[in-house]
Subunit: 244 residues, 2 copies
DNA sequence: CTCTTCCGTGACTTGAGGTCACTGTTATGG
DNA sequence: CCATAACAGTGACCTCAAGTCACGGAAGAG
């Protein structure tokens, strides 16, 4: 060493400093908000950081002062979008009282409505799931595991406590299956009208939508639901039982 | 607008002419082959068209004579990769004789092995499914629907004929479910060792892999399998029936 | 051998992400 | 109330990769 101890400028890392001043957080937030619009409207690649800066009335460089890169900015946008979604157990109490699969039905049926109100975060999550680089996707998945933003784990526990889910599978497996299929089913439902051709199959959705949801719920119930034993203490009173 | 279209389609005027000379197809093929390597190794964004040209010993411009854009080139690469995979019903005859779910088990168990032999096409399909732009993904999905490269539809028909799949669901629904879950399950199995952290959950895979496959098959069988009616001409002799 | 058609080329253009030395701006301290 | 330091913001600038094009050479056809 032997340098002058008071020299604080020694860091060879010319790492850009993260904002620290009070008003800074608000600015970051504004950037994220505008960026979300742009990403949602244009897609990841086509969205231009320069345009966002222009829309904000600031210099492009300023954006890179707050976010290391376009990827980093998108990641922040993605996190905000996903956090804005409701969790499974945010369903109304009377729905929750009717049990696991009714909660699921509730969300499947109302997603479309929520989407019409505010399609931007949905589009962002779609981009994050299917429309970015794999390196970013890795980051995103880590986030999803850590935060569990839809509260899937808690929801599965809820189902297990109510004895509506099988106990002979690991929780992990159930959570995975639920995540995968619900996500895809929802995407198929939604993109059928918003993004024709983006997802496969699931032809027309006019008024067959409810029927599809029913079919899907039945399927899930068979797959991960507690089996109905013909002669035992079947506590079915809380289950929304209908079957073709 | 700006579709993906790899083949420069019918120039409206004196646009660049598409290749017609005999040796041209072979050259196209060589480009796709090298491009596949580069995309697989670097990812979509990081792969450089210039590098591919250099590796081929040709000029960068030449690549753009055969493929309209990087996107178009990737699309061609993707198609080749996916077409190189076996179809469900390509399983050995003795496996097929054991029925639908045994065919599934066969592929799930052997995918890892196939992957070790040749990981490049697998990586490409991963990129196509999760790591490119949404516009490209739309093109990809159209292709998957039209070509059905894994023969899922035929496979489901096979299962229906053998009365191993429920008849109270549309074929489309079964195909969708199968596509979704198998794809994700496979990705989770494979990336667990090839791409740690890319996919969610499905913790350690050491020797529990077989158990996981079994669990997954059981689950699928409950979900889409023909229900086992206690007292009927249950033709179970061909089913791999084990249960915890 | 010549003419036409095609093919490959590489220098060039375009344009987006990202950087940096500098300048205003705001908070602290005497 | 000014001096000083730390920071926020700037925009000209850089880098680098996709995509273009006028040209020269090669491969048929006659």
């Amino acid at each position: 060493m032997g340098g002058i101890a008071s020299n604080p400028v020694s860091p060879p890392r010319h790492q850009r400093h993260l904002p620290q001043r009070p008003g800074s957080e608000a600015k970051r937030s504004r950037i994220v908000e505008i960026a979300m619009q742009h990403f949602a409207e244009q897609g990841y690649q086509a969205a231009r950081v320069g345009d966002m800066a222009a829309a904000l009335g600031i210099a492009k460089g300023s954006i890179f002062q707050h976010f290391r890169s376009k990827d980093g900015l998108f990641f922040e946008v993605y996190k905000r979008a996903v956090r804005s979604f409701p969790k499974y157990l945010d369903a109304p109490a009377e729905v929750k009282n009717r049990g696991f699969f009714e909660v699921l039905r509730y969300w499947l049926a109302s997603t479309e409505h929520l989407l019409h109100e505010d399609w931007i975060p949905y589009r962002i999550s779609l981009l994050g799931n299917y429309g970015t680089d794999l390196t970013l996707k890795r980051e995103i998945n880590r986030f999803l595991i850590i935060e569990d933003p839809y509260g899937t784990v808690a929801f599965v526990r809820f189902g297990l406590e109510r004895r509506q889910l099988r106990k002979d599978m690991d929780v992990e497996m159930i959570v995975s299956i639920l995540d995968w299929t619900v996500e895809r089913f929802q995407d198929a439902l939604l993109t059928a009208e918003f993004d024709p051709g983006l997802f496969r199959r699931q032809g027309e959705m006019p008024e067959k939508k409810e029927a599809r949801i029913q079919q899907f719920l039945d399927l899930l119930q068979r797959a991960i639901g507690e089996p109905v034993v013909s002669s035992r203490n079947a506590r079915l009173e809380t289950r929304g039982d209908r079957r073709g």
